[in-house]
Symmetry: C2
Subunit: 411 residues, 2 copies
C-alpha cells in the first residue's frame, strides 16, 4: 500500500540505521509497515528520539479519507455539528473548504492559516480528521444523497436520547495524543463557528499506543476483545467498506451508536456466564468453538456434552452473518467512554460504555440487519442500552488542492 | 535512586540485548534511568515487543507514595470520596486496607483479590494510585491531623462550585493508558463501595507517553509550558515537598484547584500580549528575561527600551517567590481537561481548563501565599476562573504488608 511504503521509504531515505528503525518500528507498533495504511513519517528524521509518537503522520490526502482503514488511535473526539440557519449551499461549501485546509494542515504538522498556536500543531501523533455528512446536510445543499442515507432505523430496545442524535455533519478526530486531539477539536470548532454549531461531543479511548502489540485487538470496558472479525486487507475493504462506483465512489457509510454498558450488573455475573453470553473467551477472545482469537466462528461446533459450543443466543452467534447473507459484515471501529457517574444512570457507580462506530458500503444491508438480529435476541442485551444513533456518508478522500465533497457541492 | 536502579537491573537481568534496551529506553522516555523514580520493569522480559508501555511498572511501595515524584503520566482520574455515614474509624481502617491491597496489586500488574478481570490488570503502563486524607477524614477517625490541614483559604476571585469541593478522601489515579486508568477507577470505586461514595471525578490528560522528549515540560490548553520551575532532584523534593519529621513524616500536602480557562477570550489576544501576560515565550517557555526555558526568572532584567523584561503584573512575576520567602515554591503536577461545551459556561465553545494539583510540605506557607498574590494581581486572571478547591494530607508510602496511613489509624 502506498502510504505504508512511503513511510518506510522516507524512513530509510532519512539515513536511519538498523537500530533506530527498530525503535521506530517498535514504538509505533510497526505502523510504517502496516498493511492498512498508517504511516510513521520519517520527515523530520527525529523519530528515533525519546518522542517517537510526536512525528507520526498519517497522510491526509488519498483515494479515501484517513481514519477508517487507519488502525485505531488511542483517542477520539467525535463531534456532531448542525449548520447554522441560513448557511445554505454557499456556507456549506465555505465550511468544507476551510475545514479541509485546516485538517490537512493539522494532520501533517503544519499550522493552519490564522492559527496563533504553532506549538500545538507539532505533535500529530497519527492524527486523522474524517468528515461525514448526514441526510439533512444533503438536503440543505440541495444535492442528491446516497440512496441508503437517512435515519438509522429504530429498534425495540433503543432508549435513544435526543442529545446523542443525528446531526448534519460529523467530524471524527482520532489521535494517539489527547492534547493534540483536544487542540484539533478546539481548532475545528472555532474554524467552523461562522457556519456550524456543535450539537454533541463524544469522547472515547482505547489502550495507549505502545500498550498493545502490533495488530492486537483492544478491549472494551467489559474486558472483551472487540473488533476481531474486521476487514483486514485492501481487498476486504474494497468488498465491505469502500463504495466502488457511482457518484459516491471512494466514500463509505458511517453508523454511530452510543451504548451504555452497565458495570454493576455485568460484574454480578461469573466469568463462565460472561463468556457464554459473548460466545468468546475473555482471556484471548477465541470463539468458544476454537482456541485462538482468529479461529473461525463455527456455530455448529459441539462441546464434549454434545451441546453447541457457541450458544445460539450469544452475541457472536447473533451477529454472525447468515450463510445466505455473507455481505452482513462491517468494519467496527469502536471507542470506550468512561465519564463521572451520572444521575441519568441511577444505581450505577459508573457512567461507561462504548461509542460504537462502524463503516460499510451500505448500512441498510450491513449494519441494520445485524443490529435487527441483536435487538431481537442477544444475551449481551442484558447489560447494554443503545442511547444514541446517527448515520453519515463519509465523503471520498482529497488530493492536494481539493476539499471534502467538492464534486458533490458543485452546482 | 533505588527504583530507577531496580528497573534497569531487572531489565538487564532479563537478558535484554543492547538493541532491545535501546527500544525500551526510547519508548519509555528513558524512564528506567530517570532520576525521579519512574521505572520500566523488565519483569516479563517482553518489553522489547511492540508494546513497550504495557509492562511499565512504577513500584508501589516505598518511603513515599508514588504519583508525586513520579514523572507525570498521560492521564489522571482524580476521585473525591466521602465516607458513608457511620463508617467510623473501623470502616475507615477497612477501607484503607482494602484499597491499599488492591492498589498495590493493580500497580504491579497483579489481579486484586475478588477481581474477575485479570485481562484488565495486565497493562499497568506506569500506573500509580495515590491516597490523600482531608481534614474531615481525620475528624471521622478521631485522629490528630497535621496542623496545616483544613479548608483552602478563600480568594476574592474564586467562583467555587459545590460539586468540586473538599472531600474526606482523594485517590489520584495516574496512568499512561486510559483504559487501565478507567478500569482502576472502576475497581477502586467498587472495592470501596461499602465504606465510601464518590463525590466527584476529575479526568485530565497531558501529552501521550511517546509524544514528549524525556523531561520535556507539557503544555496546557493555552499552549503554555506549565511546570518549568518544579523541584527536580531528591534534595529539592526533601526541601519543598516531603514532610521530613514528626508524626506525618513521609507524607506531603496536596492542593487541588479546578480552573476554567476561557479559550474564547484568550484567543482574542495576539501572541505578544499572551507572552507578556505569562512572562514567558510560548515557543520554548523561556522567561522574557532569558532565552532558554530553564533560564532563571530575572524580575530586574530590562529590555532594550529600559523597561522591565518581565512585566511585574505577569503570571510568572506574581508567582515568583519573594527574596525573603524562598520557601514559596511547590511541585506543580497539573492536568488539562477538555469536556463537551457546558451551559454553565455561556458564550464559550469549549469547556476546558486545568486540574491544578500541587504538592508541598505546608500549603499555608507555600501554595496559599503564592495564590494570594495571584488572586490580588495576575494578568492571567483575565482568562481563568478557579471553580474547585480541596486540600489533602497525602499519607506516607507503604511497605509490603502495610496499608495507607496505618500508623495514624491505630488507636
Amino acid at each position: 500500500m502506498t502510504h505504508a511504503q512511503l513511510g518506510r521509504r522516507e524512513l530509510m531515505a532519512g539515513g536511519a540505521v538498523a537500530a533506530s528503525a527498530l525503535v521506530v518500528a517498535s514504538c509505533a507498533r510497526g505502523k510504517e509497515a502496516d498493511p492498512v495504511g498508517q504511516a510513521t513519517s520519517g520527515e523530520k528524521g527525529a523519530s528515533v528520539s525519546g518522542a517517537p509518537l510526536a512525528d507520526a503522520i498519517v497522510p491526509f490526502d488519498g483515494e479515501h479519507q484517513a481514519g477508517v482503514q487507519t488502525p485505531s488511535q488511542a483517542h477520539v473526539n467525535l463531534v456532531g455539528f448542525n449548520l447554522k440557519d441560513g448557511a445554505g449551499q454557499r456556507g456549506a461549501r465555505n465550511l468544507m473548504r476551510l475545514w479541509t485546509e485546516d485538517a490537512r494542515a493539522l494532520c501533517t504538522a503544519e499550522t493552519p492559516r490564522g492559527s496563533l498556536e504553532p506549538e500545538m500543531t507539532q505533535t500529530p501523533a497519527n492524527l486523522t480528521v474524517t468528515c461525514g455528512w448526514g441526510e439533512s446536510f444533503f438536503a440543505k445543499i440541495g444535492a442528491q444523497k446516497p440512496e441508503w442515507l437517512g435515519d438509522v432505523r429504530s429498534y425495540t430496545r433503543d432508549k435513544l436520547r435526543p442529545e446523542w442524535g443525528q446531526t448534519d455533519v460529523v467530524l471524527q478526530i482520532c489521535c494517539d495524543d489527547q492534547l493534540t486531539a483536544s487542540h484539533v477539536l478546539r481548532h475545528m470548532v472555532r474554524s467552523g463557528a461562522s457556519y456550524a454549531d456543535v450539537a454533541w461531543v463524544q469522547q472515547g479511548f482505547l489502550n495507549a499506543n505502545g500498550s498493545l502489540e502490533d495488530g492486537e485487538t483492544p478491549r472494551n470496558v467489559f474486558g472483551q476483545k472487540d473488533g476481531t472479525v474486521n476487514p483486514k486487507t485492501d481487498a476486504d475493504f474494497g468488498e465491505q467498506v469502500w463504495i466502488e462506483d457511482g457518484p459516491f465512489k471512494g466514500g463509505t457509510a458511517m453508523v454511530v451508536r452510543r451504548i451504555n454498558m452497565n458495570m454493576e450488573t455485568w460484574e454480578e455475573v461469573d466469568r463462565h456466564a460472561r463468556e457464554i453470553s459473548i460466545g468468546r473467551t475473555l482471556d484471548n477472545g477465541a470463539p468458544l468453538s476454537g482456541t485462538e482469537e482468529n479461529d473461525p466462528v463455527d456455530l455448529e461446533a459441539r462441546d464434549k456434552y454434545g451441546l453447541k459450543a457457541i450458544d445460539p443466543t450469544s452475541h457472536v452467534a447473533r451477529a454472525h452473518p447468515p450463510a445466505d447473507h455473507p455481505e452482513q459484515v462491517i468494519l467496527r471501529r469502536p471507542y470506550n467512554f468512561d465519564l463521572a457517574p451520572s444521575p441519568e444512570r441511577p444505581g450505577e457507580l459508573s457512567n461507561s460504555g462504548q461509542i460504537f462506530i462502524c463503516f460499510q458500503k451500505n448500512p441498510r444491508e450491513q449494519f441494520e440487519p445485524i443490529q435487527a438480529r441483536l435487538d431481537e435476541l442477544d444475551q449481551l442485551n442484558t447489560w447494554i442500552t443503545h442511547v444514541g444513533s446517527a448515520m453519515y456518508y463519509v465523503v471520498p478522500g482529497t488530493q492536494g488542492g481539493t476539499s471534502w465533497g467538492e464534486n458533490l457541492l458543485k452546482g
